[in-house]
């Protein structure tokens, strides 16, 4: 008897609460259609109110980068809202500088569409598209990094600039999420995208990507990122990478020498142990073919007894400090863990590289 009573009361109460909520939703959360205007009316559409700006833009094929999938934890989905976004929320302030707040920069994933909204986004983002690709091959570079080669199917080719990244759609139990990966294939190979993926224990995206096998399909959006190679042939390009930060650098160097075989370029790459070293043979071949290309790898951990290494040791910023002569016009691209980026930026600034010429991808 009590059992039935308990079931009855529980069901009754749940139904009552659900009904109240449904009714409230119907009555309260109804904003009608809200006009959204992007870049002074370049793109304009009506969006049923109540969704976030990120979702609204995504529904209309405008792909704003977002690594966290709209949870407000990555700070990538910045757009400039000119009118109609409401005040800046406490969930956004950690990702915005004072200047950005004054300029109206917001996180698209936190802004809800409730009224007419007018916003601007960088022109390049309008070029980002959604792609479907097939895995052509997967190769292990080190014990935890894989090189994944994708053939584009739909659309069949894309325009990318060295240093840019794509956002891979990763299925997960809580719905699809996006994770950013740099493109490591050179820009002139327009129908392939190559990624380097380090396996992060427990990581949703890296686990998914490491489990991919030939022939499987992958979806991604992109390309994103605003790094531009200097067109001035006299400017030396400095690339500094650490860990699995080789991907954008491989792209930059390959693209650079396809276009300017005489350009001078210096690659610094930091690893922990000999287990993490890869692409050594590729860069050796480059030095033979391109006289102005130089590279150096450095190991930061002390050598084990069974390891042999004839290159540099120590942290990569110490090697740069030692090797680089000051006073040359340079553009630098750094990709690695934040402490490395910080240390290297300091060294490069000391060598006379203006901060505006130092680009970085921290992860």
């Amino acid at each position: 008897m009590t059992v039935f009573l308990a079931i009855g009361v529980t069901t009754g109460l749940f139904l009552l609460l659900a009904a109240v909520l449904l009714l409230a939703e119907r009555r309260l959360v109804n904003y009608g259609n809200c006009p959204v205007s992007v870049n002074d009316g370049d793109v304009a559409f009506d969006q049923p109110g109540g969704t976030t700006l990120l979702v609204a833009l995504h529904d209309h094929k405008i792909f704003i980068p977002s690594a966290c999938g709209g949870k407000g934890t990555c700070g990538y989905c910045k757009v400039t809202v000119l009118s109609g976004g409401g005040p800046v929320l406490p969930t956004e302030t950690p990702y915005l500088s004072r200047g950005e707040i004054r300029a109206g920069v917001r996180l698209a994933c936190q802004v809800k569409v409730k009224e007419a909204i007018s916003l601007t986004i960088p022109e390049a983002l309008l070029n980002a598209r959604e792609y479907r690709a097939r895995v052509r091959s997967v190769r292990s570079l080190t014990h935890d990094i894989k090189e994944i080669n994708l053939d584009l199917i739909e659309p069949t080719d894309f325009v990318q600039h060295p240093g840019q990244y794509v956002q891979i759609l990763v299925p997960s139990p809580e719905g699809p999420v996006f994770r950013a990966y740099s493109i490591s294939s050179p820009a002139h190979e327009t129908n392939v995208a190559q990624l380097h993926v380090r396996l992060v224990p427990g990581g949703i995206a890296s686990t998914y990507l490491h489990a991919l096998s030939e022939g499987e399909h992958v979806h991604f959006t992109g390309p994103f990122g605003d790094f531009r190679l200097s067109e001035d042939p006299e400017t030396e390009i400095i690339c500094v990478g650490g860990g699995c930060g080789m991907a954008p650098i491989a792209n930059i160097i390959a693209s650079l020498y396809t276009r300017w075989p005489e350009r001078s370029c210096y690659l610094f790459f930091g690893c922990r142990t000999t287990r993490d070293v890869f692409y050594l043979d590729r860069w050796q071949a480059y030095t033979k073919r391109y006289p102005n290309f130089k590279f150096v790898y450095a190991l930061s951990d002390p050598l084990q007894t069974d390891e042999t290494w004839d290159g540099e040791t120590g942290f990569i910023h110490q090697v740069i400090e030692k090797r680089l002569k000051p006073g040359v016009a340079r553009q630098a691209f750094l990709c690695g863990p934040p402490p490395m980026i910080e240390a290297v930026t300091e060294v490069l600034t000391g060598k006379g590289v203006p901060p505006g010429s130092i680009f970085h991808d921290a992860f």
Partner: protein, 196 residues
């Protein structure tokens, strides 16, 4: 029946029986949302509001539905459902009618659904056999107690940005130590008022 006056319950649940510092409930949002005073303030207001309302609602549910039918054992699950639904409702209501208030506290509301201090207050109310007035006072006091504690923590954390915390203690470890110290200072109030 519990005969403690409502005013005593109110003050006691702020100082001597602080839900966070004496019962250590609601630690998750306490640690996560205490980085800035402003955020802590918003969360404190939201918790106080929700706690007063849900203890009252749950009191009515318990006394007028569960007790007469003899199914008090359902209290746990039904309290949670009421809290979740109430929070959802308030969020929608506030968003619609007071955008300003929504931006001040609306975004903290979903966090509160899963705050165990809220459920804890409802369960204490049952265990301690409060009447309606006492329950409301307890909810109010519990909320203010949480508010006070999280504001104290946020103030300290803002200052702590300048201090050199020993490496092994950085992050949650130092926060737990600080919480313990604040809890001990609150024990100084113990002689003032006692509450069952």
């Amino acid at each position: 029946m519990n005969t403690t006056p409502a005013l005593v319950i109110l003050i006691a649940s702020i100082l001597t029986n602080n839900i966070l510092l004496a019962s250590f409930l609601g630690m998750c949002s306490f640690l996560a949302c205490s980085t800035k005073l402003e955020t802590a303030f918003g969360l404190g207001v939201a918790v106080t509001f929700v706690m007063v309302c849900t203890t009252t609602l749950n009191y009515l549910l318990y006394q007028y539905v569960l007790v007469p039918l003899g199914i008090e054992f359902l209290a746990f699950i039904l309290f949670i459902a009421v809290i979740a639904a109430f929070v959802q409702f308030v969020e929608m209501f506030v968003e619609r009618y007071s955008p300003k208030l929504y931006y001040a506290l609306g975004i903290f509301l979903p966090l509160i659904t899963v705050n165990c201090a809220i459920l804890g207050a409802s369960l204490f109310m049952v265990i301690r056999q409060y009447n309606l007035i006492q329950s409301a006072a307890f909810g109010l006091g519990g909320g203010i107690g949480f508010w006070v504690a999280i504001m104290l923590m946020a103030g300290l954390r803002e200052k702590m940005g300048y201090s050199n915390v020993p490496v092994p203690l950085r992050g949650t470890a130092i926060l737990m130590l600080i919480t313990g110290v604040i809890a001990m200072t609150f024990m100084g109030f113990a002689g003032m008022i006692s509450m069952q």
